[in-house]
């Protein structure tokens, strides 16, 4: 086809336009309309609405740790019985997919209620993905809930949700393994003691690798690092908001992690493991000590799911030279800012986070309410964890509450892994991570 039309094909002024001309004009007009009319950044409307307090509510939860899917479905059924004019649909995804699912679903307002991690309020709040519910927060809650819980959905003194899963990592140990190696569990109060116990267990031939961790390149790695960082006196950021983990305690923490691999105390699969992998290895009797969330206690002690049922004990996180802070791994329920049914969503959230509901399911996740810890019924539900939780939940370390937390965490994860695998020294890896973090904090 020639680009220059022959005289025979030139349309007469009065003739019907050619197909090419029609298509070109239509395409041009369409494209121009498309370019000029669309807002950049996503479809849908950005305005949420209170709604009638009735109707459909769709909620997004995670499918691991904390409350199980069965727990949440049972809670939801009970809520619907009490509120027959609200129909709730609950969806579940793995924790690793939760953040991105919330982001991707935001423009379409797919969800009315979303479960958010303690590290996301800054990002989701500042970008209007979750609603500011400060005005809805009853004042007494601030005193009635534990301090770590109140901090969970907060950013810039605003509330972006209601705390629901109050959790931190505890030290779980296999009492039978320690007994075989003649190790006194009392020495597990400090990291020095844990390493000493691990050496004893290894040399007694009880297991090849006494320790297993969730050190895969994921947020789980930062949770473990945060505890050690705090124990050794380090901080993520300094008072000026600049990276500080590359100094002092931050470096010592990473050196301990690396050395435990070099010494054969930590299972080398740790660098490819998440919390569920840790639970499986520990429950199979292939590790003697591990850090994990509250939920592991019930599952590792259940003979139906574990080969070490009845042998598992739990302790507060071990101490370092600067104390024993637990990582704040709490999560909150938030109302989606795009939801058209925010009042019904709020009703559902206040039900799930209410003291009676949380106390009923205390074995899966401990309540956010101070009074629950003195309730004999709660203590009876989880007699091993509650006394440890009472001490640990009063001493938590927060990961940085910054809008660019995700890319900073990714940079730190990659560099920590380089140190764990021996391709960089701990100091070099943290220096490199700090350089990247500084750029991201300034962006």
């Amino acid at each position: 086809m020639s680009a220059t039309p022959s005289p025979r094909t030139v349309p007469a002024p009065t003739a019907t336009p050619s197909r090419r001309a029609v298509l070109a004009a239509g395409g041009g007009v369409g494209l121009a309309a498309f370019l000029s009319s669309c807002a950049v950044g996503g479809g849908g409307s950005s305005a949420g609405a209170s709604g009638s307090g009735k109707g459909k509510v769709r909620a997004l939860f995670m499918k691991q740790a904390g409350y199980s899917e069965t727990d949440i479905r049972a809670m939801t059924t009970a809520f619907q019985k009490a509120n027959p004019d609200i129909a709730v649909t609950a969806d579940f995804v793995a924790y690793e997919a939760l953040h991105d699912k919330i982001v991707a679903a935001a423009p379409a307002a797919t969800y009315d209620v979303v479960l958010i991690d303690v590290i996301w309020p800054a990002e989701f709040g500042s970008k209007h993905i979750v609603a500011d519910v400060t005005s809805k927060w009853p004042e007494p809650w601030k005193q009635q809930m534990l301090g770590g819980a109140v901090a969970t959905p907060q950013f810039d003194s605003r509330f972006y949700g209601v705390p629901w899963i109050l959790d931190t990592k505890y030290l779980f140990f296999n009492a039978a393994h320690l007994a075989k190696a003649k190790v006194d569990a009392g020495q597990l109060q400090s990291w020095d003691g844990v390493l000493k116990a691990a050496r004893a267990v290894k040399s007694a031939g009880v297991v090849k690798y006494p320790l297993v961790w969730s050190w895969q390149q994921a947020e789980a790695l930062i949770c473990d690092y945060a505890k050690l960082l705090g124990a050794f006196g380090g901080t993520f950021l300094d008072a000026a908001g600049k990276p500080a983990f590359q100094h002092g305690g931050g470096v010592q923490a990473l050196e301990l992690m690396r050395q435990s691999i070099v010494d054969g105390l930590s299972n080398p699969t740790s660098t490819q493991s998440l919390e569920e992998d840790v639970r499986r290895v520990f429950s199979a009797g292939q590790a003697s000590m591990a850090l994990n969330w509250t939920y592991m206690y019930g599952m590792a002690n259940d003979p139906k799911q574990s080969q070490v049922g009845g042998q598992v004990k739990v302790l507060q996180t071990p101490s370092g030279p600067n104390g024993r802070p637990g990582v704040n791994g709490s999560m909150a329920l938030a109302v989606s800012a795009q939801s058209k049914n925010q009042d019904a969503a709020w009703k559902y959230i206040t039900y799930l986070t209410s003291q009676p509901v949380q106390e009923k399911y205390a074995l899966s996740s401990l309540p956010v309410w101070k009074a629950s810890y003195d309730n004999p019924a709660v203590v009876k539900t989880n007699p091993a964890v509650v006394p440890q939780a009472k001490k640990q939940l009063a001493d938590l370390i927060l990961r940085p509450q910054v809008k660019t937390y995700n890319p900073i965490s990714q940079a730190l994860q990659a560099e920590i892994q380089k140190a764990l695998l021996g391709s960089k020294s701990a100091q070099q890896a943290l220096n490199d991570a700090a350089d990247q973090a500084a750029t991201l904090l300034g962006s």
Partner: protein
């Protein structure tokens, strides 16, 4: 080409265009409309939209007004020190997995083209890995490679080849290669079927003549089979290269980009930037560069093969 009548056309023809031809054109347009809407909706609209987004500093999934930054998202890609390692991983993954799939695919296709007993059964068996969803395949291989209770270590131990528990996904370069193995296991099937289809078009007379001329099996393969398979190889090479360059899901499931970012590919990095970090403008620019790279690859292949007069594509 023009459907417009010539200026000198008699009035009768003008009337015909005005009624019959126009009616026919409208009918044709009506028939094409559903397909056009689908193509526009799933191809053209996202392509145009992604390009528009790549010109703005979009840092949220929500609609709004974001600063226009022109091509600076594209320039940023090349200034980003994180981009070059992932580009390296992607090129390595693409090159090695495509080459391995092609070599293995040709070998298996030759085998399946031979007069085997129960040939239908073997052919059905070969297609199974390809029929498996990539997510399932990734989860399967993650378990096979597990350093603690994985099947591969179990197999090596049973065969008394190695008792040490190897960490197949434990170091960056090894992990990348092990992901390639998983990808090759799954995608060799499709190569086999393309090549098998090509093999069946080669007349047995050619081999017979070659044999009579004294050519052995090796010479027949290089002089007859391979040249005549070129069109099939061209197609499968383009398809597999493009797919390998875009690799995402198997990485997401098997390694999550680790260890130490050693298995992050361009598509995975794009996903992280766009969805995890909410840098949608930057993510869109990265996505556009993937499209351009894939387009360039396809053009290079077609050109090379056409120049060699092997592709059979005019």
């Amino acid at each position: 080409m023009s459907v417009a009548p010539a200026a000198t056309a008699p009035p009768t023809r003008r009337r015909a265009w005005g009624s019959g031809v126009r009616g026919e054109a409208l009918f044709a347009l009506a028939l094409l409309l559903p397909a056009a809407i689908v193509v526009f909706g799933v191809v053209l609209y996202p392509v145009a939209r992604t390009f528009v987004i790549s010109l703005f500093d979009v840092n949220s999934p929500l609609p709004g007004s974001y600063p226009f930054v022109g091509l600076s998202n594209y320039a940023r890609v090349f200034r980003d020190p994180g981009f070059y390692p992932v580009l390296g991983h992607t090129l390595y993954f693409t090159l090695v997995s495509t080459a391995a799939e092609l070599a293995l695919g040709i070998a298996v296709a030759l085998l399946l083209n031979a007069p085997l007993r129960a040939r239908w059964f073997w052919r059905s068996l070969v297609v199974l890995p390809w029929a498996l969803p990539t997510i399932v395949n990734g989860a399967l291989w993650r378990w096979i490679y597990n350093g603690q209770y994985g099947a591969l270590n179990g197999l090596l131990s049973t065969l008394h080849l190695s008792d040490a528990p190897h960490q197949w996904l434990g170091s960056p370069f090894l992990a990348l290669n092990m992901v390639i193995v998983a990808d090759v296991w799954k995608n060799t099937s499709i190569v086999v079927f393309f090549i098998l289809a090509g093999l069946q078009t080669i007349s047995s007379d050619l081999y017979e003549s070659a044999r009579m001329d004294g050519a052995g099996a090796w010479a027949a393969f290089w002089r007859i089979t391979l040249p005549l398979l070129a069109p099939s190889i061209a197609v499968v090479l383009i398809l597999r290269t493009i797919e390998a360059f875009k690799v995402f899901d198997i990485i997401y499931v098997m390694t999550g980009g680790g260890p130490a970012s050693g298995t992050q590919t361009v598509a995975f990095y794009t996903y992280l930037q766009a969805f995890s970090n909410q840098l949608f403008g930057y993510g869109a620019a990265l996505a556009y560069l993937i499209v351009l790279a894939v387009f360039a690859l396809a053009m290079v292949y077609l050109r090379v093969l056409r120049q060699g007069e092997m592709a059979g594509i005019q």
